[in-house]
C-alpha cells in the first residue's frame, strides 16, 4: 500500500475514513450540500409536488362530481325523451282520432246526401208510376165506357152516356 505514498497521505493508507485531517473538509462540504438540498426541497420541489398532488386530488374529485352530474343529466334527458315520446304518442292518437272523426263526418254527410237523393229519386219514380197507373186506370175506364156504350148500342137500346159512365165506374170500383 506504500505505492502512492505521498507523505501527508500516510495516515490515509490504512483506512482513509480515519484520516482525521480530511474531516473538516468533508463535514464542511456535507453541510453545504445538505443546506442546498434542504432549500431546493423545501422551497421548490416539495411545495410543487404537494401542489401537483393536491391539484390532482381536487381534479379527480371534481371530475367525479362532474361525472355524477352528467349521469344525473343523462337520466333526466332519458326521462324527457320518454315523456316526449309518450306525449307524441298521445298526440298522434288524437290526430288519428280527429282524422277518423272528420272522415266519418264526411262519410255521414255523403251518405245522407246520397240517401236524400235516392229518396227523392224514389219519390219521383213513385209519382211517375202513380201518374202512369192513374193514366192507365183512366184509359181502362174510357175503354170500358166506350166498349159498354158500343155494346149497349149494338144490343139495340139507347142509353144516355151518363148512365153508362155510372155503371162502368161502379163496376170498375167493385
Amino acid at each position: 500500500m506504500a505505492i502512492d505514498a505521498t507523505g501527508e497521505a500516510e495516515a490515509a493508507e490504512g483506512m482513509p475514513q480515519l484520516d482525521f485531517s480530511t474531516w473538516p473538509n468533508q463535514i464542511f462540504w456535507l453541510l453545504v450540500t445538505l443546506v442546498v438540498i434542504y432549500f431546493v426541497l423545501s422551497r421548490i420541489a416539495l411545495p410543487r409536488i404537494a401542489a401537483v398532488l393536491a391539484d390532482r386530488k381536487s381534479t379527480i374529485t371534481n371530475d367525479l362530481a362532474a361525472a355524477e352530474e352528467l349521469k344525473l343529466r343523462a337520466v333526466e334527458a332519458e326521462k324527457a325523451y320518454n315523456d316526449a315520446l309518450a306525449s307524441a304518442r298521445t298526440e298522434a292518437a288524437k290526430i288519428v282520432a280527429a282524422a277518423k272523426a272528420e272522415i266519418q263526418k264526411d262519410l255521414d254527410a255523403a251518405s245522407a246526401k246520397a240517401d236524400a237523393e235516392i229518396s227523392a229519386k224514389a219519390a219521383e219514380s213513385e209519382k211517375t208510376i202513380a201518374a202512369i197507373r192513374d193514366g192507365a186506370a183512366a184509359a181502362v175506364a174510357e175503354v170500358a165506357r166506350d166498349t159498354a156504350a158500343e155494346l149497349v148500342a149494338a144490343l139495340g137500346s139507347t142509353v144516355d152516356a151518363k148512365t153508362v159512365t155510372a155503371a162502368v165506374s161502379a163496376r170498375l170500383k167493385g
Binding site: E13, G14, M15, L18
Partner: protein, 78 residues
C-alpha cells in the same frame, strides 16, 4: 514472516472479529424467517409490518457491522 508477532496477532484478531458477522447473519435470518412465517399466517397484516421488519433487520445488522468495523480497524488502522 520475520517473526512479527504483533502483525500476526492483528490478522488473527481481525479474523476472529469477522466471526461476529455470523451472529448478525443468524439474527437477520431469524427476523426475516419469523416475519415470513407470520406473514404466511396472516398475509393481510404483512405489508403494515414492513417498516418494523426493516428496523429490526437494521438493528441486528448493525452489531455485525460493528464486528466488521473492528476487523477493518485491526487490519488497516492499528
Amino acid at each position: 514472516m520475520e517473526g512479527d508477532i504483533a502483525e500476526m496477532g492483528k490478522f488473527i484478531g481481525a479474523g476472529l472479529a469477522t466471526m461476529g458477522l455470523g451472529g448478525a447473519g443468524i439474527g437477520v435470518g431469524h427476523i426475516a424467517g419469523n416475519f415470513l412465517s407470520g406473514a404466511l399466517r396472516n398475509p393481510s397484516a404483512a405489508p403494515g409490518q414492513m417498516a418494523n421488519l426493516f428496523v429490526g433487520i437494521a438493528f441486528a445488522e448493525a452489531l455485525g457491522i460493528f464486528s466488521f468495523l473492528i476487523a477493518l480497524l485491526l487490519m488497516f488502522a492499528v
